[in-house]
């Protein structure tokens, strides 16, 4: 069933892709093939493979149960939030919370997670920013 759903999704993707390819504007420089031909080929391959998944699906994979699945959804949401928070709060503060959340959800006590978050954040800041000179996100406080 998963493969069939995947196949339908893939087919929709292929249709969308081919449509999006068809509206690519020509420029004044056009070669024999043009900018649309290769995307059409790619879209067609995606479509054919998707049809194959619908017709001959593999065995059902082991999807996680609701709890594990929601863990992943929340972790992804926290990561997205982290990306948004980076330029606002800066690297050090955002990383403490993001790491603490992940460490907590992987099974550490909440308080220790905060400690792990703070240590990871400071550790990465020292190694990558202070020692290796990488540019990290700066918040209002400058770190």
């Amino acid at each position: 069933m998963s493969d069939r759903i995947f196949g339908i999704f893939g087919l929709a993707l292929a249709v969308f892709y081919i449509w999006a390819a068809s509206i690519i504007k020509d420029s004044f420089m056009v070669d024999v093939v043009g900018p649309r031909a290769f995307p059409y080929i790619v879209g067609t391959i995606i479509g054919i493979c998707s049809l194959y998944f619908i017709i001959r699906p593999d065995e059902e994979p082991n999807w996680p149960h609701f709890k594990a699945f929601s863990e992943i959804v929340f972790a992804a949401a926290v990561m997205f939030l982290y990306c948004l928070a980076l330029p606002e709060l800066g690297f050090l503060i955002s990383t403490v919370f993001a790491t603490a959340y992940l460490t907590w959800r992987l099974g550490t006590e909440p308080l220790w997670s905060l400690v792990a978050g703070a240590s990871t954040s400071v550790g990465i800041y020292v190694v990558f920013h202070l020692i290796l000179g990488l540019a990290l996100a700066e918040g209002p406080l400058g770190f």
């Binding site: 998963s2 493969d3 892709y17 999006a20 390819a21 690519i24 504007k25 020509d26 420029s27 420089m29 056009v30 070669d31 024999v32 093939v33 900018p35 290769f38 995307p39 790619v42 391959i45 995606i46 493979c49 194959y52 998944f53 593999d58 994979p61 999807w63 996680p64 594990a68 863990e71 992943i72 972790a75 992804a76 990561m79 997205f80 982290y82 990306c83 948004l84 980076l86 330029p87 690297f91 990383t95 993001a98 790491t99 992940l102 460490t103 959800r105 992987l106 099974g107 550490t108 792990a116 978050g117 990871t120 954040s121 990465i124 990558f128 290796l132 000179g133 990488l134 540019a135 990290l136």
Partner: protein, 513 residues
């Protein structure tokens, strides 16, 4: 003779204090990454690429750092196989079969150093093979026109599913997905915007580093969240290391096994789509048939059962560099990631690489030799340190991996959008892995898409729109035959080989009980 002088120049590059230091750091980090189950060589290199680039290292130092990580991770994979019966990466799976029983007999230290020596032998001779073979392949370069290049890329995609793949449609889908992503941005020939939907962040296309780190490293974090809540990788202190140096007699007894493993592994590595897992599997199977027909000692802690697959998988990783450097066709996930490194450095691997950038190629090859010696020197005395890393709980380690991925991408692009895109790739990677769709063709599609299209369009321009140009030379036809065979063969043989590999894995589970 010319090769030797070029190699000497390479060593002159690799042995500068900065490069030597980077090689040592790379070997150390690589071994750590390899030792941790889940974080294989591809992940290890993927996480470190953005870091290496944002440190502003030049092309050669970056390459030296990253190939040292690659070889280090190939060495490190065996540590958790032997100590915990959990392979650090897939190619190290066969090492579990005799490595773990050896450890249970109190010979963990000997198994670790013996496998270290076998890894050295495999990788060293494979690197020699690379020196001899790759420049020969380059001679074919003169025969390649745009049409042949296009077909060569097709070969890469057709064979990438690998000989043990059981669903070629999924490999083809993954490749097309990657090619589709590569089309986003300005068209390199005409400058038209494609698939950008007037979104300014997409005008330059999607940086493949974002895709690589997201697909490999972040999807691994999600897999861990799903499966490994809680404890440390190791149930601490279960296996004693014991004495570290194996006696000379044991090494001597294993020399033929290492030799056979190296030969087979190198061959498997050079073949597109076969890779290190098949290399170690073939090496172990051959060894079992050669020296233990009655099945009396293999699987029960026979040192030869450790030496052969370790030599095999390390030789395969050296062998996989031959098509990657000489033809620009990577045969495995990690070589695909290394290809990304080269492209990022504006070095296009392929037949012309050896003539256009000899300093880079020979510096890289010298670095591989250097990494091997450093790893041999590092792996035997420092084995205790690497094993201690396995005691660090994953619940602490995986968030650090995630954050280093974020740091790497953010420090290169400085854009929240790109980091979010990386998370998106991470989620997509998790879904694709659940559906058994290989991620390597996706990466390769993103990497090679532009080149593939450019060559197709050049060929068509030359032939004035006649598609038959793609079948117009004997070389192109040979390449088509290889592509079709590489695509069809796994459909015929894939399930059988996969079954055999799974049978070996079951045996391993039995040993673990």
């Amino acid at each position: 003779m010319e090769i030797l002088s070029l190699l000497a120049d390479g060593f002159a590059v690799a042995l500068t204090p900065q490069n030597f230091f980077l090689a040592v750091v790379g070997c150390f980090l690589g071994t750590l990454m390899g030792a941790l189950p889940g974080l294989g060589p591809a992940n290890g290199v993927a996480i470190l690429i953005p870091i290496a680039f944002s440190m502003g290292l030049g092309p050669t130092p970056s390459l030296i750092l990253l190939v040292s990580v690659y070889y280090g991770a190939m060495y490190g994979g065996r540590i958790s196989s032997i100590l915990l019966n959990i392979p650090g990466d897939e190619p190290a799976m066969m090492t579990c079969l005799d490595g773990y029983p050896m450890a249970k007999k109190g010979m963990a230290g000997e198994a670790l150093s013996l496998s270290g020596v076998a890894s050295f032998v495999g990788a060293f001779f494979a690197t020699c093979g690379l020196v001899l073979l790759a420049p020969q392949l380059v001679k074919i370069a003169l025969l390649f026109g745009p049409a042949e290049y296009f077909v060569l890329f097709t070969v890469a995609f057709a064979t990438l599913g690998g000989i043990s793949s059981n669903n070629q449609a999924k490999s083809a889908f993954a490749a097309a997905l990657g090619l589709g992503i590569a089309m986003i941005g300005s068209d390199s020939q005409t400058g038209s915007q494609r698939f950008t939907f007037d979104h300014i962040h997409l005008y330059d296309g999607i940086d493949f580093l974002i895709a690589i780190v997201g697909l490999f490293a972040l999807s691994e974090v999600f897999i861990f969240l799903e499966n490994h809540r809680g404890g440390a990788v190791a149930s601490s202190g279960e296996v004693k290391i014991g004495r570290i140096m194996p006696d000379f007699g044991m090494i001597k007894r294993c020399i033929p096994s290492m030799a056979r493993g190296t030969g087979l592994g190198f061959f498997a590595g050079v073949l597109p789509g076969a890779g290190a897992s098949l290399g170690s599997f073939l090496a172990y199977s051959l060894e079992k048939q050669t020296v233990d027909r009655d099945g009396k000692t293999f699987g029960k802690g026979d040192p030869r059962g450790v030496a052969a697959p370790e030599a095999g998988n390390n030789a395969a990783s050296g062998g996989a560099l031959v098509p990657m450097l000489a033809l620009g066709v990577p045969g495995s996930g990690t070589t695909a990631v290394l290809l990304a490194v080269l492209l990022q450095l504006n070095i296009t691997p392929g037949p012309l690489l050896f003539t256009k950038n000899p300093d880079v190629v020979w510096g890289l090859i010298a670095a591989l030799f250097l990494a091997n010696f450093i790893l041999l020197a590092m792996n035997i005395p420092l084995v205790g340190i690497f094993t201690r890393v396995l005691m660090v709980p994953t619940r602490i380690l995986m968030p650090i991996v995630a954050m280093i991925s974020f740091v790497g991408i953010y420090s290169i692009t400085g854009s929240s959008f790109d980091v979010m895109l990386m998370v998106g790739f991470g989620i997509a990677g998790w879904v694709l892995r659940k559906l058994d769709v290989s991620l390597v063709p996706v990466i390769l599609g993103i990497l090679l898409g532009n080149q593939m299209e450019v060559n197709l369009r050049r060929a068509m321009t030359i032939s004035d729109g006649d598609w038959m140009v793609l079948f117009g030379s004997p070389l192109a036809i040979i390449l088509w035959v290889i592509a079709v065979t590489g695509f069809v063969l796994p459909m015929v043989m894939g399930r059988r080989i996969k079954k055999k590999m799974e049978a070996a894995r079951d045996e391993e589970a039995f040993v673990g009980d």
